[in-house]
Structure formats: C-alpha cells, structure tokens
C-alpha cells in the first residue's frame, strides 16, 4: 500500500524484487493457509485469493522449503469462485444471462463468497504451476490449473486480451485492460504460441502499451512480453517498452505505491538479467 499499513501484495512483490527474506510472510499467514490482503485485521474474515497466490509465488521463489507452502497449496485448491456451486451455475445459465460467461469454467475470486475474476485466477494458476515445478502438488491441483486456464480462455475479450472479469455485459463487448491481459498471458504460458487467442492478446498488449501512461500496467506488460519473448517481434518491442518504463519512472507521481515500484523493479530485472519471477519454466 502507499501508507504505513502492511499489505500482502506489495510486500510479496517487494520481497521478490529485492530477493529479500520472506519471514514476514511466514508470520502473517492465516492458520488455514491463506493470506490476508492487509494485516492485521481484515484477514480473518476476508482472506484474499490473490494475496495468497502472490505470497505463495514469493515463497516458492525465495524459500521453497517453507512449511507454509503446503498449507497455502491446500488453501488455493479449496478456494473457488462461488459460481462453481451447482445452484449458481444453473442460475447463470438459465436466468442471469446479462453477463456472458460459461459458469462451468470457474477460477478464483478476490474475496470469499464471490465470483471468479481474471486477475486472482491468473495469479492462482501461476502459483500452482510454479508449485508443480517445485514438486509441490495436491490431488486437486492439476484439475484446478486446467479449469482455471479454461476459465481464462472463456473470459477473453472478442479481439483478444482480458477485461477484469468478463468479455461482454448487456450485449456490449468490453475492452481489454493492460494489466489483466498481461497477468492472464503469464498464467497461460504453457499454451501454444500460435493459438489465435495468444497471438491476438500479445498483439493487443503490444498495441495498448505504446505510449502507456501507467507504470504498473506497463511493468506487468513487460513481464508478460518477456515470458513470451520467443514470439515473432516481441524482443524488439520489449526493448522499446523497457525504455518507456524507465522514462515513466522518472515522474514520481507515476510510482504512487510500493506494489507499483516493486513490479517495475521486477520488470526491469527481467529485461536486464533475463530473470522473470513469473516465468513458469524458470
């Protein structure tokens, strides 16, 4: 956060960026394995799906033998969007159809008792895939990776890329957001490079980050483009976007919070040292 209160997302990203010690994450993990988005206080009743995934990614990268990881894995496997319940699934299929999505494809929510959204689902899929590379497995994990990835594909915007949660509301196609598109592409790294959705989304990301004014969005885009750097013209665009990010970072108000600063550092590290914390194969 920008203030003095502890929050899991900026803390996890900062530890990743500085290769710091993850002790604070071990201390703030809930007994059930999840992490609160802010601490203390809002955790017990509202464990955050995305906070848990980011803490898990950070622990896997910095302290892969941490005892909390197995509990985090169990928490992630047990957590799911509310539309996965058969009652809501039928409601969304039969009655509540203003928002276009397939409720059979579910992922992770921001907060318990709510629906799946793109960013928390993408972070969870990345965490589970990284966990798998480290030999961290649970019976349900593979199934959740598969359904979560299918959910992301289902929710993609018509021309590629991702909005916050859905592709179409009240009949209107939604535009892709840069950061949601980037994080979803990081989650789908194991898909084929020539798949239409991937090529369209990468093209969207390249187009939409030209003269991008948001440092956080641009940094996430850089991390995604770096992970997909073997694709056509990406290396050339990576270098340009890297220069744009450095230029943006010279304006202090563009780096308004610690999460943005940390993700910018992670993006520049990926470019300079070919070390991408969100690349699943590394």
């Amino acid at each position: 956060m920008g203030g003095r209160q502890f929050a899991t997302e900026p803390t996890a990203l900062a530890i990743l960026a500085c290769s710091g010690r993850p002790d604070v994450l071990a201390r703030t993990q809930n007994a059930d394995g999840g992490w609160p988005p802010v601490y203390p206080g809002a955790g017990a009743e509202l464990p955050g799906g995305w906070a848990t995934s980011l803490a898990m990614i950070t622990l896997i990268r910095t302290h892969p033998t941490n005892h909390g990881l197995q509990r985090a894995l169990r928490w992630l496997c047990a957590s799911r969007g509310i539309e996965s319940h058969w009652l809501w699934r039928w409601k969304f299929k039969l009655a509540d159809t203003q928002v276009a999505f397939n409720p059979d494809k579910f992922g992770w929510s921001w907060a318990p008792g709510t629906a799946s959204w793109v960013v928390p689902t993408a972070f969870a899929v990345i965490a589970l895939r990284l966990g798998r590379h480290q030999g961290l497995t649970a019976p349900e994990a593979e199934n959740r990776i598969r359904i979560g990835s299918e959910m992301l594909v289902d929710r993609a915007c018509p021309g590629g890329g991702w909005n916050a949660g859905n592709s179409r509301v009240f009949g209107v196609a939604l535009d892709a957001h840069i950061d949601a598109t980037a994080i979803a592409l990081l989650a789908l790294q194991e898909r084929e490079r020539n798949e239409l959705l991937i090529t369209q989304s990468l093209d969207q990301l390249v187009a939409r980050t030209h003269d991008c004014l948001g440092a956080s969005s641009l940094a996430w885009a850089l991390l995604a483009l770096h992970a997909w750097r073997r694709y056509r013209h990406i290396p050339r665009e990576l270098a340009r976007r890297g220069e744009e990010l450095e230029r943006l970072m010279r304006t202090p108000e563009r780096i308004a919070d610690n999460a943005t600063l940390a993700v910018c550092a992670l993006a520049l590290d990926a470019l300079a040292n070919d070390r991408n914390s969100f690349e699943v194969t590394q």
């Binding site: 956060m1 920008g2 203030g3 003095r4 209160q5 929050a7 997302e9 988005p37 802010v38 206080g41 809002a42 509202l46 955050g48 995305w50 509310i82 203003q98 929510s109 921001w110 907060a111 008792g113 709510t114 629906a115 959204w117 960013v119 928390p120 909005n163 916050a164 949660g165 509301v169 009240f170 209107v172 535009d175 957001h177 840069i178 950061d179 949601a180 991008c212 004014l213 948001g214 440092a215 956080s216 969005s217 108000e253 563009r254 308004a256 919070d257 999460a259 943005t260």
Partner: protein, 326 residues
C-alpha cells in the same frame, strides 16, 4: 407448561421474530441522519473550461459553509478511460471544486478515488487528464484502493457485512465531497452521489471489482456505505451526462448543469428529476429518503435554478423503463 405447549410457544415466538425481522426496515435501528431541510443549487454550465472556477465558487458561496482550517476530500467518479466517451467526472470540474474550497478558506484539499475495475489507478488518473489538473493546481491525489484503513461499523444493516474497512484519508477528512458523473446505471438504475461512494471501499481488501458489495446487493451496499460514511457535500457533474447503458457504454447527454447540495439524498433526488426519472421508484433513493436525507420536494430548498417542468427523460435499459417520467 408441558412439552408440547412449550414447543408450540417456541414456534410462535420464532415465527413472530421472523415476521418482525422481515417487516422491519434494515434502517430501523440506524440513526436518522435527515436534516430538517436540505439545500440544493442547480447551476447552468455550458462546457468544461476554466469558467467553471467562477461558477463553482459562486455556487459554494450560496451554502455559507464553515471551511476555515478544514481538510476537504473530493471524491470524483473515476471508472476507466474510454476515448471520446464522457465516463468520468470531468477533471475541469474537480479542479474548479478544489480551487473554490481553497478560495473559501479550506486548509487543504485532497482528491481521492478507488476505481472499481482498474487496478492501475495512476493509469486512469493520467489518461482521464485528471493528472494535469492535479499538477496545475498542486493537489494531492490518494488512491483509495491502497490507502491505510480503519474499520467502521455500518450505519445500517441492509447487507450482512456489519462493518466496512474504509480509507483513513476519507474517514479523517473534515468534509467529504462526493462528485459523481450524472449517469444511468445498468444494475442500480442511476449512479449519482451515493453510488459514487462505492469508490471509497478499498480494492486492497475487497478486490477489483469490489465484488463483495455486488453479492451483498449493489443497492443495499450503497445504503450501508452511505449510512456509515455519509458525504457532507455533493458537486455533481451533469454538464455532459450519460443515458442508456451506463455507467460505461451509454450515450452522452448534454444537461449543461452542475448540482451542489449539502445532502446526498436531496442531490440524488434532484439529479434524478433533472434526468426525467422518478426518484421514488429507485430502490436505494427511496430507502435513503427514510433515514439518510431528504427526497421530498417540500424538504428541499433550491438555492439556484428551478427544476424544469419537463425534461425529456433519459433513455434507460428496458428493466428500468418504469423509472421514466412519461
């Protein structure tokens, strides 16, 4: 009493409790925050230019607010940037409001917002050109999605939340000014000064969007948020409003008005009337008028212009057709 008699009495008692709960308004125990009389100023403004400075300054003077030494938080509606579409509270109006409050004695003006879907708040601030106003007028911006937090018990019980985590910058401000864009809304009917307060609920706890509020019911959440943190003042941007499929994909509609008020409920009733809609038919407005502010024409003193006899009603999605004043 024998066992059967006891069981029967228990069932009747439980039934009575359920009946009482369903019949009582969730605002039943909420404190009545309605002022004896509310003040609203409807002002004509033709365009988004620096002329707004004078219009807003003169409008604020009508209210004779005690601003000396106060910290004012302006809360515009900043959703996302869609080129060519008037989605957000216009930055010119935000700048003009800041200048007016400072000119009338406020010690400090902060601009704060926590967009619902866009995690990159700075991107929206920059693309919407609010950044330019902040820089030119040397204003501080607070991302309410990531501010320090305090927990507050909700002022009413329309939702099951019981308490809300809210940004310190908003809770600590002496005067919170809700600055909505006057728009139709595909879930709530309209989005005005009360719906605009969704933006103070922090994404860092509730996510992007604040989906907890959707599952609790958007209109019920509006009521609980506003009863917990009732905005002290309203400056609504109705210069270019939105009709149809708002709040993002509707059509621009020139109203050429800004609406100022010391009561968010009175402001929203007045804006709805300017939109040619029936405020009493909008659930969260009708409920709010029972305990949060005044909706009845008799309880609202108009300091500026009158509401026109007839305004072509805003177009709405079919499910809100009953809101239109025909």
């Amino acid at each position: 009493m024998n066992r059967r008699g006891f069981a029967g009495a228990a069932v009747r008692l439980a039934g009575g409790a359920v009946l009482l709960k369903t019949q009582a308004s969730p605002s039943w125990l909420a404190s009545d925050q309605r002022p004896a009389r509310s003040r609203v100023a409807i002002l004509t403004a033709a365009a988004y230019t620096d002329k707004l400075d004078g219009i807003v300054y003169e409008g604020l003077r009508l209210f004779d607010l005690q601003l000396r030494g106060k910290t004012v938080l302006l809360k515009p509606n900043l959703v996302e940037y869609i080129p060519g579409v008037e989605v957000n509270t216009n930055p010119w109006l935000v700048g003009a409001a800041a200048a007016a409050f400072l000119g009338l004695g406020a010690a400090k003006v902060i601009v704060g917002e926590g967009p619902g879907h866009q995690r990159d708040t700075q991107l929206v601030v920059a693309e919407s050109k609010l950044e330019q106003q902040l820089r030119d007028r040397r204003l501080t911006f607070v991302d309410l999605n990531r501010d320090d937090l305090v927990q507050m018990k909700t002022g009413s019980s329309y939702t099951r939340l019981g308490a809300l985590w809210l940004p310190q910058s908003v809770v600590g401000a002496d005067i919170v000014v809700s600055m909505p864009k006057v728009k139709t809304h595909h879930w709530a009917g309209v989005t005005l000064s009360m719906k605009n307060m969704f933006g103070v609920v922090p994404g860092a706890v509730y996510g992007w969007p604040k989906n907890v509020l959707h599952w609790e019911g958007i209109e019920k959440s509006i009521l609980d948020i506003c009863s917990t943190l009732r905005p002290h003042f309203v400056i609504a941007d109705g210069i270019v409003a939105m009709e149809g499929n708002g709040p993002l994909h509707g059509t621009s509609r020139a109203l050429n008005k800004i609406v100022l008020s010391d009561d968010p409920v009175a402001a929203d009733f007045t804006c709805a009337r300017l939109m040619g809609l029936l405020p009493d038919k909008i659930y969260h407005l009708e409920r709010a008028a029972r305990f949060l502010g005044n909706g009845a024409v008799e309880a609202i003193q108009l300091l500026g212009e009158e509401i026109p006899e007839w305004n072509e009603p805003f177009t709405v999605l079919p499910q809100f057709e009953h809101l239109r004043r025909i």
